[in-house]
């Protein structure tokens, strides 16, 4: 108290100095008010801490049976065992490979097709109804068929992800390209651009940041498809480990597997975002 009093005379407007201190907490409650990056980071981390704390209390406190839910400590121990004794790194590698492989194939087919549909209304009219229909076919329902067609090998896993991703990407890319700014297209025409030039140097670069965001989103979905594919008829991968652990009632390993998927997903998302931001600096300036 005395130190505050001592500081007072140095301040030309004591009233003004205290006013923002009162206003600050109130401002934080205002809608859309931004938070400082540090606060943001701390708040984000705080929820993880809270989550683990609640989980610990529930399991270590004996409120939930360990048969149904392993404690964080057990989970970490089981995770360690997975890596040291059960070759879990190989499982992770397989899963990552399948996701990236299937996703890459889907993008390779879907992005050019989506651009073509977005740019040319005739192509859109021809393909859009069918693709829209296919989009609602659940990829996981194809698994029995795909096993019949492609066996239990890697091709079947890739196809599940491919089917799950390709139609989504086509449609979202088509919409992005189709909603290009008309005035930019007109400006390009008055500068002497040909129809091909419009597609290559106006529609595609203009849509590129959005397309990259679409791919990032769909990559997230691909992770859910791969686990489903691995739950059925697989001899490796994170999904396979989870089914094995289920048979042994090892909830610690199951949770560890799920958390690993979450972490890999988060990291890939983060990397994707960073690459997008670098590639399309113009759109975020």
């Amino acid at each position: 108290m005395s130190r505050v009093m001592g500081a007072m005379p140095a301040d030309p407007q004591p009233g003004a100095a205290t006013a923002p201190a009162h206003a600050a907490p109130r401002r934080r409650l205002r809608p859309l008010e931004p938070v400082a990056p540090r606060t943001r980071w701390l708040l984000g981390a705080a929820f993880f801490v809270l989550f683990v704390a609640v989980w610990s209390v529930a399991t270590l406190g004996g409120y939930v049976s360990p048969t149904f839910l392993a404690s964080p400590v057990t989970m970490v121990q089981e995770g360690w065992l997975l890596f040291t004794q059960f070759g879990f790194l190989h499982d992770i590698g397989m899963t990552v490979w399948r996701v990236l492989g299937g996703f890459f194939l889907a993008a390779l087919v879907a992005v050019p097709l989506g651009i073509c549909m977005g740019a040319h209304k005739g192509v859109e009219a021809f393909l859009e109804p069918f693709v829209s229909f296919c989009r609602y076919l659940p990829a996981s329902a194809f698994i029995p068929l795909l096993i019949l067609w492609a066996g239990l090998g890697e091709l079947q896993k890739l196809l599940v992800i491919f089917i799950g991703s390709v139609f989504q990407i086509i449609l979202m890319v088509a919409v992005t390209v189709g909603s290009a700014r008309k005035d930019l297209v007109e400006a390009a025409y008055t500068l002497g651009a040909t129809p091909t030039g419009i597609v290559r140097r106006v529609l595609i670069p203009g849509a590129a940041p959005h397309i990259a965001e679409t791919l990032r989103l769909v990559l997230g979905w691909a992770w859910t498809y791969v686990i489903v594919a691995e739950l059925i008829g697989s001899s490796s991968g994170i999904g396979h480990m989870i089914t094995d652990s289920q048979a042994l009632l090892n909830t610690g390993q199951i949770i560890f597997g799920i958390i690993v998927i979450g972490i890999i997903g988060l990291v890939s998302d983060f990397l994707f975002k960073a690459v997008n931001r670098r590639l399309f600096a113009w759109s975020v300036i």
């Binding site: 930019l184 007109e186 400006a187 390009a188 008055t190 500068l191 002497g192 670069p205």
Partner: protein
């Protein structure tokens, strides 16, 4: 030489439901080589429609547009256009934007660079070559758009209220800049505006549009000497023209309002 003839051009917008809207009654108009013509009219009178037809971005319902005797069938590099909205390509730098048309037409890279540098200097944007459009103010973006259109060396420059979105001070400076460029380069310019001062200050001739459906109601020659200084705006001759055009536009605005 570049001469523009607008012959009996009219435009009717049809919609699936509701009656068709006549935007433009048959218009006959002629722009001579190196002329600077402003098209003045109340908003929604069809003056922009006419300009878009000249650009080839819209098709006339009847009539035709001839540039140097050749009918206009679609947009082309011989008719450069500056739009009211900011139409720089946001993914290209200022320099790349200015080079866009040259690149599309396969002009040699060294020529592209040279012309871009020339027009960047002309519109006072030296030092901003590597900036992206978003980093520039509205006035700077429109200066880039003018440079981009001019770098392509069009026969005629079409301007659709290019300074309409700018604040008043910037707009006045942009008018002086454009007029200065015109006095040096002697391009043929067709400039659409609803601002009377702007219409008189830059033009050799002002064409007044009627309220919708649009037609050219009168043409007024502006015989103010070149080079024009901003002080010309306070001269008695300017004031007299302004009073006359104000009367004409006022009648049309009231007619438009009554619709």
């Amino acid at each position: 030489m570049s001469e523009l003839h607008i012959q009996g051009v009219s435009r009717t917008f049809t919609s699936a439901k509701g009656p068709a809207t006549q935007a433009l009654l048959p218009v006959d108009f002629h722009v001579a080589d190196n002329d600077f013509v402003t098209i003045l009219g109340p908003s929604g009178c069809g003056k922009s429609t006419m300009l878009r037809i000249v650009a080839g971005l819209d098709q006339p319902t009847a009539g035709r547009v001839l540039l140097d005797g050749q009918p206009v069938t679609g947009p082309g590099a011989d008719r450069g256009m500056v739009f009211q909205s900011y139409t720089l390509f946001p993914w290209l730098t200022i320099e790349q934007n200015i080079r866009f048309g040259l690149r599309e037409r396969g002009v040699a890279e060294s020529v592209q660079k040279e012309r871009a540098a020339y027009f960047i200097a002309k519109v006072g944007l030296r030092g901003f070559e590597q900036h992206y459009p978003k980093q520039l103010s509205g006035g700077m973006q429109q200066r880039t758009a003018i440079a981009r259109a001019l770098a392509n060396d069009p026969k005629i420059l079409l301007m659709d209220e290019p300074f309409g979105a700018l604040d008043n001070q910037t707009r006045v400076l942009m008018q002086e800049l454009l007029l200065g460029i015109w006095e040096a380069e002697r391009k043929t310019v067709m400039f659409v505006t609803h601002d009377i001062d702007e219409a008189i200050f830059m033009a050799n001739r002002v064409a007044v549009f009627s309220a919708r459906p649009g037609r050219i109601k009168s043409e007024i020659a502006v015989d103010l000497p070149h080079p024009r200084h901003y002080r010309v705006k306070t001269s008695p001759e300017f004031m007299e023209l302004k009073a006359r055009l104000t009367e004409e536009i006022r009648a049309e605005s009231m007619a438009a309002d009554a619709h």
